[in-house]
């Protein structure tokens, strides 16, 4: 194998170049994602307060965390919020997509109207809804001004109901997007099957219930994954809309983690809560990504 040295170098470089080009991104992921996850995971077993510290305390942070009323509130709120948010977004998204599928005129005008909230920051959404829901100047006040004196809508100030205003604003922001996902699914369905079923006398209701909706499985799956991960990550919306209040009525794990870590100087507990958030998302995302990437091959 007597190849010229220079040519050999070039060939070898060409062989290594692709991996070399990929390596900075990979290194960043390894350090900033996986390294950082391990770091936070370790901190969740440490006695960290204001600053990271490495004294081992075993499961103490987790035990403390599970005894905290504050955390219990955050987790309960997450359950209520995530369930309602996902169910309502899916229902609204699917309904709108089915409506659009009826040869609707003006779809080109309506579709962008349904989708534009997705382009906005949650802080903008939160600000808009915060003042619209404010009984002093918002919808309640407007109804009073229009003469409906007994109208009351003060959920955002009410400990029982404030979490539902977060659901409302979040649904406003993302349901249009879910609609677009279902619409893409609907438009991908083979019309021949539907025509055949129509000839056999199937009603529209049966067409949807028996043939179309079962075929939307992939869209349901994507919607579920996207909505679940958005729900668990919800942070800015609560900060802008209610600030976690009134009291702690709308605290979520994300706001809990931030306040325990950075304002209450309980970094160990904050790290423990972040670890639990990650585990929850990983339980959904890892199987999903695994199946998506494996199917490709």
């Amino acid at each position: 194998m007597a190849m010229p040295v220079e040519g050999d170098f070039r060939t070898r470089l060409q062989v290594w170049l692709p991996k070399l080009v990929l390596s900075p991104s990979l290194a960043m992921a390894l350090v900033f994602v996986y390294g950082f996850i391990l770091f936070t995971f370790y901190l969740s077993f440490s006695d960290s307060r204001i600053l990271p510290s490495f004294g081992w305390v075993g499961l103490e942070n987790y035990l403390k965390l599970f005894r905290l009323r504050h955390w219990e509130t955050a987790v309960t709120n997450m359950g209520v919020f995530a369930l309602l948010y996902m169910v309502i977004c899916t229902a609204v998204g699917l309904a709108l997509a089915i409506f659009f599928d009826q040869k609707i005129r003006g779809e080109g005008v309506l579709r962008p109207i349904y989708l534009y909230p997705m382009a906005l920051s949650f802080i903008v959404t939160g600000t808009a809804w915060k003042w619209m829901l404010d009984p002093g100047i918002g919808i309640e006040n407007t109804m009073h001004a229009l003469g409906w004196e007994s109208f009351a809508f003060d959920w955002i100030k009410n400990r029982e109901y404030a979490i539902y205003t977060v659901v409302l604003a979040a649904v406003w922001q993302t349901s249009g997007f879910v609609m677009a996902m279902f619409l893409a699914g609907l438009r991908g369905i083979d019309n021949e099957i539907l025509k055949a079923a129509q000839i056999d006398g199937a009603s529209n209701w049966n067409l949807y219930w028996r043939i179309i909706i079962p075929q939307l499985r992939p869209a349901f799956l994507s919607a579920f994954v996207i909505l679940a991960h958005l729900a668990i990550k919800t942070y800015d919306l609560v900060i802008a809309l209610t600030g976690g209040g009134p009291g702690r009525a709308t605290e979520l794990p994300a706001t809990f983690m931030y306040s325990y870590t950075f304002t209450r100087n309980q970094m160990g507990i904050g790290a423990a809560s972040a670890t639990i958030m990650l585990m929850t998302i990983a339980a959904i995302m890892v199987p999903y990504l695994y199946s998506e990437l494996r199917d490709r091959r």
Binding site: Y34, I37, Y116, F122, V124, K130, N204, A274, L278, R297
Partner: protein, 293 residues
């Protein structure tokens, strides 16, 4: 999005259709309402909001709230308006979008045209990074930025957004390049073209559509970010979202709702403009992020 324009075989009765139109209009009203409220109330004097009806058009039109939100309002400690923060956001978004898109294009090129054992696993590892709750990296990231002297700087934020953005840009380019004929790449290789030559001459010139998707997605995401801005920035680098939140939440003095609404529109304007100009691509980006492939 060609799939979105196929006609369905479903036939609907006319009563049902009227009902559907009504519901569709009702939802349009629901989605437009906050935008209308923000717009209308940002051009009203404060007294018309506190004393009156949020849905009503202004009796006196004024652009004073806009001027105040932009250059005078109290944001945090200083009365600078949102202007400096708007520029902070621009200074952060432009390099972050540029760098993450270039890296994503290169990664996508390697992962589809220069495949090697284990590349799918590596891609999976990068992709998972998009979905982690960022709370898990806040503490070490704050440490790291401090160590590198990047704490509170725009470049620190650029780094953060590049790191957590390349998963998505890589996904976009990987899916796009997967459909690009590999024979062309192999032919160019036989003709003696190298790795970068093929990328510049063959791949990039045909990457227009996906680059638009990637740039729009990154721009929207980074512009709209709040968590990283709130965690890692100081007054010299705080982005627009953090400033808007400070403006709205400030507890001192009278609540100037009209200024808040004007500020909210200012914060929304860049991404809204992108959406209006290139909404088609925006939707494609959303879909590619959800339905892989």
């Amino acid at each position: 999005m060609a799939a979105l324009n196929q006609d369905s075989a479903i036939r609907t009765g006319s009563t049902a259709k009227v009902l559907i139109y009504l519901l569709l209009l009702l939802f349009a009203f629901f989605y437009l309402l906050p935008l209308f409220v923000m717009g209308v109330n940002s051009v009203k004097p404060l007294s018309e909001i506190t004393g009156g009806n949020m849905m009503a058009l202004p009796q006196v039109w004024t652009f004073e709230p806009w001027r105040q939100a932009w250059s005078e309002a109290q944001v945090g400690v200083q009365a600078t308006g949102l202007k400096p923060y708007f520029w902070n956001s621009i200074k952060m978004v432009v390099p972050a979008v540029f760098i993450s898109t270039i890296l994503g294009a290169l990664n996508g090129y390697v992962l589809t045209k220069w495949r090697f054992r284990g590349d799918t696993i590596l891609f999976g590892l990068m992709l998972f990074a998009c979905f982690i709750p960022f709370q898990i990296v806040l503490i070490p990231m704050a440490r790291m930025l401090g160590l590198f002297g990047l704490a509170g700087t725009t470049w620190g934020l650029v780094l953060v957004h590049v790191v957590y953005g390349i998963g998505f840009t890589t996904l976009y380019y990987r899916n796009y390049y997967a459909a690009f004929p590999t024979e062309l790449v192999r032919a160019a290789q036989i003709d003696g073209a190298g790795f970068f030559q093929i990328f510049w001459r063959i791949m990039l010139p045909s990457s227009g559509p996906i680059t638009v998707v990637s740039v729009i997605w990154q721009f929207t995401n980074i512009w709209n970010d709040f968590l990283f801005g709130a965690s890692f920035a100081d007054f010299s680098s705080q982005p627009m979202t953090v400033a808007l939140n400070n403006l709205v939440q400030s507890s001192t003095g009278v609540k100037e709702y009209n200024v808040h609404f004007a500020g909210a529109i200012l914060a929304a304007l860049p991404t809204l403009l992108v959406y209006i100009v290139a909404g088609r691509f925006f939707v494609r980006g959303l879909m590619a992020g959800s339905v892989k492939g």
